[in-house]
């Protein structure tokens, strides 16, 4: 290297600019979450492991749904049936697990996750073959799946093994102070999906398909396979959300509105988490923080003694506000380039 060579960024030290450019949004969402948690500790009289456990376990369903939705949206699709899939998994689990020993519950849970992956993978295949837009196919599927959920479990009921509840909630009754099981159950799927997306050939093909389907196809990526894989993962994550709901509540609930709300929240979470709805951009790590933030708003608002209706208004307004600010920041960034 001569003295006249341009300065080369060495591998030592962190390239802050690159980090900010690439992961700025993800870091921002995690900071937002940290600020919210800090604020929450001042709001409640005694912030302890009970609150941590409660927040972790209750945000699980939304986290799983958001991860699944993120994978699908990164691949260039969108799934409006994740909530209904969650209902179906929830109802099926509550019926099959009722009064069964733990090992059977685990087997049933595994079976449900695999079946959901297969079923939603088929939906991905249908989208690919039929060329009907994702929104339409998954909208139709949301009717089918919630109908199936109602067939399996006509009214709220069913149950599961205490051990199964412990796995997701850290307590055999669903409420307790042990928070590590919930934390582990959040970290494992997140890390698995994140590693799959970043470090495997198949995961990279999802990004390629999402950012430019034609270019990906012409460079030899099997876009059909990418679509099927993404929907399969989405289905599996939705099923996991359903299992978590059984563990948290101890029963099954096939109500349509529960599923519809969950779907809409999953879309809000991924957008807040930095996934572009046009596909190909974003990471699931940011999505996890965004899902917790979205869930976290309601305990914060109730700790501030704001009634649920006003809380809902504030929550909606905050989401819009965050997106507006993000839009303006993005606009300025693009203008300055």
């Amino acid at each position: 290297m001569t003295a006249t060579a341009p300065p080369i960024t060495t591998s030592r030290g962190i390239n802050w600019q690159r980090l900010r450019r690439r992961h700025g949004w993800t870091i921002g969402v995690w900071l937002l979450l940290a600020v919210l948690i800090g604020w929450y500790t001042t709001l409640v009289p005694n912030f302890g492991s009970f609150q941590v456990a409660s927040i972790l376990k209750n945000s699980q369903p939304l986290i799983y749904l958001a991860i699944g939705q993120a994978v699908i949206v990164i691949t260039g699709g969108i799934d409006l049936s994740v909530g209904a899939m969650m209902l179906l998994a929830n109802s099926t689990a509550a019926v099959l697990m009722d009064g069964q020993p733990l090992w059977l519950c685990l087997l049933v849970g595994l079976g449900i996750v695999l079946a959901a992956a297969l079923l939603n993978g088929t939906v991905g295949w249908v989208i690919n073959v039929s060329r009907v837009p994702d929104i339409v196919v998954t909208l139709a599927m949301s009717f089918v799946l919630s109908g199936l959920a109602l067939t399996v479990l006509p009214s709220p009921g069913g149950g599961t093994a205490p051990g199964f509840r412990f796995i997701f909630t850290g307590s055999e009754t669903g409420t307790g102070e042990v928070f590590w099981p919930a934390l582990v159950m959040i970290i494992i799927p997140t890390v698995l999906v994140a590693l799959f997306l970043r470090w495997t050939r198949s995961g990279l093909s999802l990004y390629a398909t999402g950012s430019d389907r034609n270019a990906a196809y012409l460079s030899g990526v099997s876009t059909a396979r990418a679509k099927i894989v993404s929907y399969g993962i989405g289905g599996a994550m939705a099923a996991l959300a359903g299992l978590a709901t059984v563990a948290i509540t101890g029963t099954g609930d096939p109500r349509y509105s529960v599923g519809a709300n969950a779907t809409l929240n999953s879309v809000a979470a991924i957008v807040l988490g930095g996934i572009a709805l046009t596909g190909g951009i974003g990471s699931v790590v940011g999505v996890v923080a965004a899902a917790v933030v979205l869930f976290f708003l309601s305990p914060i608002l109730s700790a501030m003694r704001i009634d649920p209706n006003t809380a809902q208004i504030i929550q909606g307004a905050l989401i819009v506000l965050v997106m507006m600010v993000a839009g303006l920041v993005e606009l300025r960034r693009r203008r300055s380039q």
């Binding site: 060329r131 809000a268 209706n309 997106m323 507006m324």
Partner: protein
């Protein structure tokens, strides 16, 4: 929508060229929709012979009118590349306000009800057009805000406003011409004429298609796209409010679940009718057929008396099959 160059199915090398019938169908997709509608009506008639009478068909029209009016707003938004997930709650809110103001006369009730749609739609439009919030998120958040607002209002200011003025009940649920044609169909016809006129005869209509087709090109050619968004979202809000008031008139009572079941069908009607979810392609005439198809379908499922769960499953599968068939037929072009 980007140009599709993926050889998925129909361009197989050995496949025979599409016949004349296939070409005609591809050029006139409305024929396919009309045929599906007729088949559905006949099948429903087979299941329940009394359906093929004036009163049977009248019920379908009563179902279809609010849905089609709501879907009109959705169609225009889809054409610009947008979508509105808050139509159901806007409709419910408008019905609440109309019910609350009913003692002051139907005219005031209707105007104030429509104001709900104007305000909510305008805010949606500003969010999407000026602040570039993603339409899904903007309208989703709007529906959360309005749901909270009206849940609160229903317990405080708007208590007891669960019924509507006589005039609204007549327009929403009554019929004329020997009890054969619902009044709401007249409202629907007026809306349809207005929408079709805007789409095909005005500059706004051209810009709506253009914004959905290529927003960058439209902006570069000097159109203030944010204004287009504000106008179409406001229009969609007004139409949703109108549909809500008609619904309140039909059911004769108002509750928070009034229009909730209409959200997804309002999008489905537009999409089945051939409006592209990516913008720029479609027309309200297809949506009209889509709304009729969905209404006949839900009537048929009611006659089958199979229970809510099976109804939902069949409804979803038929919507899927219809849109698949539609994509198949039009892709042969």
């Amino acid at each position: 929508m980007t140009a599709e160059i993926l050889p998925v199915d129909q361009t197989l090398p050995g496949a025979p060229p599409p016949g004349r019938l296939a070409r005609t169908l591809a050029e006139k997709p409305l024929l396919v929709l009309s045929a599906s509608l007729v088949v559905l009506i006949l099948v429903t008639g087979l299941i329940q012979p009394s359906y093929l009478t004036f009163s049977g068909l009248r019920n379908t029209l009563l179902l279809a009118a609010p849905l089609a009016i709501m879907a009109a707003g959705q169609t225009i938004l889809l054409l610009t590349g947008g979508i509105d997930l808050s139509v159901a709650i806007i409709a419910t809110g408008a019905a609440y306000v109309a019910g609350n103001q009913s003692p002051n006369g139907a005219a005031i009730a209707i105007v104030l009800g429509l104001m709900v749609g104007v305000l909510a739609g305008f805010v949606n439009g500003v969010g999407v057009g000026v602040f570039r919030v993603n339409p899904l998120i903007m309208t989703l958040a709007m529906s959360a805000i309005l749901l909270g607002l009206f849940t609160w209002l229903a317990q405080t200011v708007l208590t007891g406003s669960t019924s509507v003025a006589q005039f609204i009940e007549t327009v929403g649920g009554g019929s004329f011409f020997g009890n054969r044609i619902p009044w709401s169909v007249l409202v629907w016809a007026a809306v349809a004429l207005l929408i079709l006129w805007i789409q095909h005869r005005t500059g706004l209509g051209r810009v709506i298609y253009a914004v959905g087709d290529n927003p960058v090109a439209v902006r570069l050619s000097g159109v203030r796209t944010w204004r287009v968004h504000v106008v179409v979202y406001t229009l969609c809000g007004i139409l949703a409010a109108l549909a809500g008031i008609l619904l309140a008139g039909r059911t004769g009572a108002v509750d928070l679940q009034l229009a909730q079941a209409f959200l997804l069908p309002s999008i489905a009607a537009a999409v089945i009718g051939g409006t592209s979810i990516f913008g720029g392609v479609g027309s309200y005439s297809g949506t009209i057929l889509g709304a009729l198809i969905l209404s006949v379908l839900s009537q048929m499922l009611t006659f089958l008396s199979v229970g809510q769960a099976v109804q939902q499953i069949v409804y979803g599968l038929i919507v899927l099959a219809l849109s698949w068939a539609y994509a198949r037929v039009t892709a042969a072009q």
